[in-house]
Symmetry: D2
Subunit: 339 residues, 4 copies
Amino acid sequence: MPPQRALGVAVVGTGKMGADHVRRLHDVISGAQVTAVVDIEAERAKTLADAIDGCTAYTDAAAAMAAHDVDAVLIASPGPAHEAALREALGRDLPVLCEKPLTPDSASALRVLEAEQRLGHRRIQVGFMRRYDPEYMKLKRLLDGGELGRALMVHHRHRNLAMPPWFTEEMLISDSVAHEVDATRWLLDQEITAVTVHKPAPSSYAPAGMRDPQFVLFETRSGALVDVEIFGHCGYGYQVHAEAVCERGTVRIGDEHGPRLSADGRWGGRITPDYVERFEDAYDREIQSWVDATRRGGTTGPSTWDGYAAAAVCEAGVLSQREGRRVEIDLIDRPSLYG
Amino acid sequence: MPPQRALGVAVVGTGKMGADHVRRLHDVISGAQVTAVVDIEAERAKTLADAIDGCTAYTDAAAAMAAHDVDAVLIASPGPAHEAALREALGRDLPVLCEKPLTPDSASALRVLEAEQRLGHRRIQVGFMRRYDPEYMKLKRLLDGGELGRALMVHHRHRNLAMPPWFTEEMLISDSVAHEVDATRWLLDQEITAVTVHKPAPSSYAPAGMRDPQFVLFETRSGALVDVEIFGHCGYGYQVHAEAVCERGTVRIGDEHGPRLSADGRWGGRITPDYVERFEDAYDREIQSWVDATRRGGTTGPSTWDGYAAAAVCEAGVLSQREGRRVEIDLIDRPSLYG
Amino acid sequence: MPPQRALGVAVVGTGKMGADHVRRLHDVISGAQVTAVVDIEAERAKTLADAIDGCTAYTDAAAAMAAHDVDAVLIASPGPAHEAALREALGRDLPVLCEKPLTPDSASALRVLEAEQRLGHRRIQVGFMRRYDPEYMKLKRLLDGGELGRALMVHHRHRNLAMPPWFTEEMLISDSVAHEVDATRWLLDQEITAVTVHKPAPSSYAPAGMRDPQFVLFETRSGALVDVEIFGHCGYGYQVHAEAVCERGTVRIGDEHGPRLSADGRWGGRITPDYVERFEDAYDREIQSWVDATRRGGTTGPSTWDGYAAAAVCEAGVLSQREGRRVEIDLIDRPSLYG
Amino acid sequence: MPPQRALGVAVVGTGKMGADHVRRLHDVISGAQVTAVVDIEAERAKTLADAIDGCTAYTDAAAAMAAHDVDAVLIASPGPAHEAALREALGRDLPVLCEKPLTPDSASALRVLEAEQRLGHRRIQVGFMRRYDPEYMKLKRLLDGGELGRALMVHHRHRNLAMPPWFTEEMLISDSVAHEVDATRWLLDQEITAVTVHKPAPSSYAPAGMRDPQFVLFETRSGALVDVEIFGHCGYGYQVHAEAVCERGTVRIGDEHGPRLSADGRWGGRITPDYVERFEDAYDREIQSWVDATRRGGTTGPSTWDGYAAAAVCEAGVLSQREGRRVEIDLIDRPSLYG
């Protein structure tokens, strides 16, 4: 078992996800304590820090990482701020859990990849939390078990009640479908080689000018075909389904369950309104898993390579979305560090 | 295959069920035609008859049965009128499908049973239509198949949106639970030997003075224990479930299915409002099965014995309901005709 | 109500489907009788006819249609034989139910369409039986009701246990996806304007040289996007799902239900092995609906136009399948007869 | 937020549950550390303690409770050892989480209750973990919300794959149904006033001489009727269902979900083999909730009163089981401490 001392974690970024991770590390996670919170808004950081014994507020990520009681870093700041924070952490050889996206584009992701390679060992885990969802984990285990044969197709459904006002059409790919990019690569254990984005006639509830929903096709190295329905404004709740079509069977995950109510002439139940509630368990497991691995001196979960590959696919997806054509993805050779 | 001529059916009683059976025989059933409708309300019978070529209206069941174009009788009049009609039909050796109950009590049922025995062959089928419901049929097949071992318990749920104003507390047993009495005897292929009726504190939506819902326990000859929740005014729809607990597995039927809608923050679907819609297929199959057997000169389905046994159990149930104690059921020996 | 005399039906073609329709018309359907069966194999026709009172065997469809006791024609012969039989029936102004496909290609379908137009009234119903499946009917009603807004996408799954040895890759489109072509046009009430067929790496259980499964995209006039997974050799059963994605909700049909068994460490139930069992009810309703409409002197169900449009989409689909590109569909203007 | 120092917990009893709680406190729970493990088998305690930094092994519970680094006690020893350990903890005013049963009978439970009353404040939480199961919590919230009206009946199903060899028929009530006793009292927020145990003919897979399954009826103060199917050797997995029947709706929990697999002619999924896997989340939440409340200086969850009431109902249940009759339950007046 690991040494008793708790892992001192600096949380960088205290928006919705960052603040939730502070709460999670403090109340839910075993073996960690939040020793630093960082936000460019000083007041915000201070309020969070004051509520926790032994936690200091910072406005500068580098300063926090330099503190003696910071053993590891959880980055939950906006994507454009990730590269600098990641390079700072790598420079100090600190373990990092970085919320997705690793960085906003493949070029910057590549720079982080190269920095980690220069360091010579893995330090970064990327926050693709679906890998920690109990149903996804069971699906992965079924696919890996091999009793159903190879996976030939995967159908993904990804629906949101509504998106915030600043959400752009590009973000349907780069922010939302990004999850299916990683889920696909992880479930099938291979790279995506081409992407095509289709745009049906939009919902009249989509924001003016946004084509929503969209339908994305991935082709993988082995020739599997994967489709993703992404719907930003479905109007009824948050819903994530996946169905793997294998040679000898199919598996579907994500159906709502919970209490089955019969009342008012209807049977059924409630749909979760957002990803925070839907994937609450997954977030808990992800962070606990990162803390546990880090305390053991190891790494786990999605790597910098996964973050880079996801960035490259999303970039191609946005291009396909813009130009209405199939776009191939050209990854660098996979470095041996990520073998 | 049977001879081509359609079976001429006299429908006795043209209330809700009777009129529905006329429609069914005319529009849905193959190989039958309605040649007579009987109702003490002459106008009502005439209206129905006029809409069908070759169909005559009667106010007297005996007169209809005497008609040359009547080959068989479907009795859908109120229970108290059944005995006379059944004896008339037996006197003429006419095949009968008699809506449940066979007769209102076990003494009169016994008289019908004796009359049929004197005739020397089976002519009567009793309208326990659940035996023709596709899910009940599959459950029966599973239990008979034996792969799950013996059935040790059965849990029945029987819920109605609401009951008509003339519905009495006794009818919760004699009219509603009557279905579970037959289903139990049929599924387990044995007699019920004792019955106990429990009355929880009533729903505030039950009619004044009626204890609704109630909970009924059956004991069977082999020692199986069967419970029935009967709820006359559940307020949300018509729901019939059954769960068999066997030595090596359990089976549940009756869950609502059909389109699974996701909207307004909820998943699920619609519950049928009444037994007519819920068991529409079962009624169709029951009548078709009766017509087919009759045209072949045979009999099928629940017999007079089943009608008598059900009457005896319901009688004991009403006694238990009234006196708050377990009541044993004493059937006559099963005549060889019903072996 | 219709006149009492049963509709005399000639069944042309007595293969698997034809023989099943003879049985259905005889045993299940109300108001019809099989007065003629036609097959080029005389012995086969005779065996079927001999079992039915008043039924005559023919080897020539035209001779059967000329018989005085034939009021209507059910065509279940192989597709290439349809055109001649249809034109013969139209020439005699006989009502026809023609199993899908109407004819094997759009050019011949167009000739039939023109013949019916010359006749001046509709006589032909095409056998797209999914329109009569209870769940499809409920889905259609939901979409038409409008409470969910417009349908933006539909996801179809169409899986077969295995295909017969003579089944070709083209038939995945022209024979199997043909059902989704009609279902899509009917559900969305609009034409399909383009089709693209994708071929993932094939299952190792597919016949040598056949790319199975395939994934088909339809675009419709209003811009809806529809995808079809067609899998000829899924190895576990027959499964047909559809999910409509609307502006304010989604609806899914086709999930297996029936008894829910718990045994051997697993919960769940049985999957039907083939379309005959899965769509048994739909076939019954389709034929009954045709008989009823015909006896009333009217028509119902999918028209010659639907048969022509399906042929045109399938033709484009096979071209897309062959050439690996998106193919647009160019229909003639819809004649007023089919308005 | 609570002070940063972790809660030092002594775990008394290191059998299956005790060892699992040590693991849970160490790996999963936030804010606690195992500082002592106690077992009369010294070697067993030592092995567990050695794997954890700062954890000491004891053979005597009192000695462990006297240690300076023990802030709270988790009792997971066999039931007969509970009373002494509980009184020792109360004597030291230490917070306790005591695995069910509180004590083996109502007389000893009453002595503990009196001791806690003398102490003057609550210190004991009883380990009825179903109150922490997400579905039970949602059911409780629905019932408390009141939109379905009062609960009139509850149907419980409680099935086990098989029981260990030392499991007696009495334990079907005192050990297994004990969970439904607490669940019923908690869900309905009222006491159970009478219990009747029915014994159907046993499964041929039950141990010689054991009547298994059994069927238990509870009556509650307000007149609700609650039934429990308890099946110790169902042979297929661990299954816990509950269905509440309310005045305006019914709610069912416990249906298996997770990946829905279609393969080999069947749809469905896996059933958990035992309570450890089925209620893993509930155990985690229960312990975390206890640690959190304790660190805040408060109490939560089922109280000593709940433990006493459960013991009294189980005692009556065993009597009913033995004598085959309805047995009323006579509780002392509820002390104000547990108001």
